[in-house]
Symmetry: C2
Subunit: 347 residues, 2 copies
């Protein structure tokens, strides 16, 4: 499934409130730069005319609201944090589209494809700055979440998560041209890039002024989901779900030889012949459709597919364990567990 | 002159202290991502082996120390802010090198030229996050500068400056393919991109817990210098100083048809024939050496060069006026005024 829609535990009014907070924050600024951001976020077309895209993934913002709600926070105080994480996630996507040369994002031309790489890099940088500026808005709200110590903790969490994503991205890119990539390497990348969802879950806790123990549980919960989601994106790129085709982002990762967990498993555990064949394929500059077909059939033979599927299941179990360990109500626990499963499967 | 060296009012021990704070902050992290940053900052070669580049421009970090000193701050408390602004400036350079396809930066291969655009975008994003993380270090210091309200103000100043630079960058890029660019348009870009030096001067004031009035004066001082520096970079690209050649960054701006103040002046005030000729040149996809020679001779004829030179002088006068209005000691005033002139002329 392509997007999460509204997460269990949230109402459509929560989702509307979030969407209008996000929109209001971006719309409050007037230059064409912000129209480009509004295009990426699915509210206007390339000319800046209203055009609502209905299937946008807002799981990053929504999970902030969901963890805050479970921890006793309120929507109003949580909104600037939810907006911040959604923007953080989107800044990363905008830059990823340039880095992987993705022509499309969410079935529309990506920013770099429409406006060129220079504008796309710049728009991403702008969204990155906006993510943090959103947190400063928090000072205007009332209640516990306006506590300066919490605001500062939220900012630091956001920046540390960003840096961790950059560390992961560095490794992910450097593995493109290497055949010798092992399971631990790929897991490290997926975990580091999963820091955004870890940050999202934690920020919900911060908005609710949760205890340090709870914040740690929420971070581990979110990071496990984020890690699983990254691994699952690669799995669905290799083996699309029934009746779906690879999207541009998935195709981009395969063609550019980004290493999946399944590929690393085959490289680490395959017979010498399998390893040699994988090496030959990864020697090519860009992978074509036949190469990708051959890779997927090798990975099924070596049981690398099931290894990767199991790893995703274990990470989901880890996320569930973290939620079970909290003193959230059973209803909230169930909602967060179902949300985790949805987010992992979305891409 | 290519770089500022040590600004008047600072000692070589101040500069050493700054350099080791910057180096320690980047070196405290261990992944290859940080080696790439160390390469860009001039401490190691492309393989991560020590290689000190002596002519690095550190004016952004140094001006933070200089304004703090004048306002009564101390080096120790100011250091995290100085490191933050230096990194902010460098994140922008790393992305600019990708955006303008600059093969060199400071006479060495740029990050994108050595490691490709994907790694360069990512390294820039990492430096951007590091800039803010440096400010969190401030909490560990003692004295007034560790005040949470001041730290929060510093972070917000940094983020707002970044967003302003992105707004300027958007306009700058969008003017590349337009001939109809007027004087006000170019000044807006230069002013918005000058926000980094405005932020630098203000952060020095924040480190010294300066009054709001003084912070405003320092912001205007720094922004005027930053604006003048941007305009001067274009002037020196069109008319290099005696015995110097255009560097890659200057050549990049000319070839990619970034609009200088002088060009905007000629477009706005030239005869119909001049305007038509300028339009024909800017219709080309990329400008070659002959085109650039023709542009420079038109701009001298239309007195557009002297218009731009005068604008730079007026901005320097504006910066001086802001410093004169403060109650800094005469010695500090003179040092800051001389620093301003050096920074404008450096590139």
């Amino acid at each position: 499934m392509p997007v999460t829609g509204i997460l269990p535990g949230l109402t459509s009014s929560d989702a509307d409130e979030f969407e209008s907070a996000l929109m209001k924050f971006v719309d409050s600024r007037d230059l064409p730069l912000y129209k480009m951001m509004a295009y990426h976020l699915g509210w206007v077309d390339q000319n800046g005319e209203p055009e609502i895209v209905t299937n946008q993934d807002r799981s990053h913002g929504h999970i902030v609201l969901a963890t805050s709600k479970a921890a006793g926070g309120d929507n109003q105080g949580t909104m600037p944090y939810a907006v911040a994480v959604e923007l953080l996630h989107n800044f990363i996507l905008v830059h990823e589209d340039v880095q992987n040369a993705n022509t499309e994002r969410n079935n529309r031309a990506s920013i770099w494809w429409s406006w060129g790489p220079a504008q796309a890099i710049n728009a991403g940088d702008g969204i990155h700055a906006m993510a943090r500026i959103s947190i400063f808005e928090q000072r205007k709200s009332s209640g516990v979440s306006a506590n300066p110590r919490l605001i500062s903790m939220a900012l630091e969490t956001l920046d540390n998560a960003t840096l961790e994503v950059c560390e992961g991205e560095y490794l992910d890119i450097s593995y493109q041209e290497r055949a010798a990539v092992n399971i631990e390497d790929v897991l490290t990348v997926a975990r580091k890039r999963g820091a955004v969802l870890g940050c999202a879950a934690k920020l919900g806790g911060i908005a609710a002024a949760a205890s340090e123990d709870l914040l740690n549980s929420l971070t581990r919960f979110g990071t496990a989901i984020g890690t699983a989601r990254n691994l699952n994106t690669d799995l669905r790129a290799l083996w699309p779900e029934q009746n779906t085709e690879r999207n541009e982002v998935q195709r981009g990762r395969l063609q550019s030889k980004k290493k999946s967990l399944a590929a690393a498993h085959a490289i680490e555990n395959g017979t010498p012949a399998t390893r040699r064949r994988m090496g030959e394929i990864f020697m090519k500059r860009v992978l074509g459709p036949d190469d990708i077909d051959e890779v997927t059939s090798i990975l099924s033979e070596t049981e690398s597919r099931s290894f990767a599927e199991n790893t995703v299941q274990n990470l989901i179990a880890e996320a569930i364990g973290e939620i079970e360990s909290t003193n959230f109500s059973n209803e909230d626990k169930n909602s967060l567990i179902e949300s985790a499963k949805l987010i992992v499967r979305s891409h």
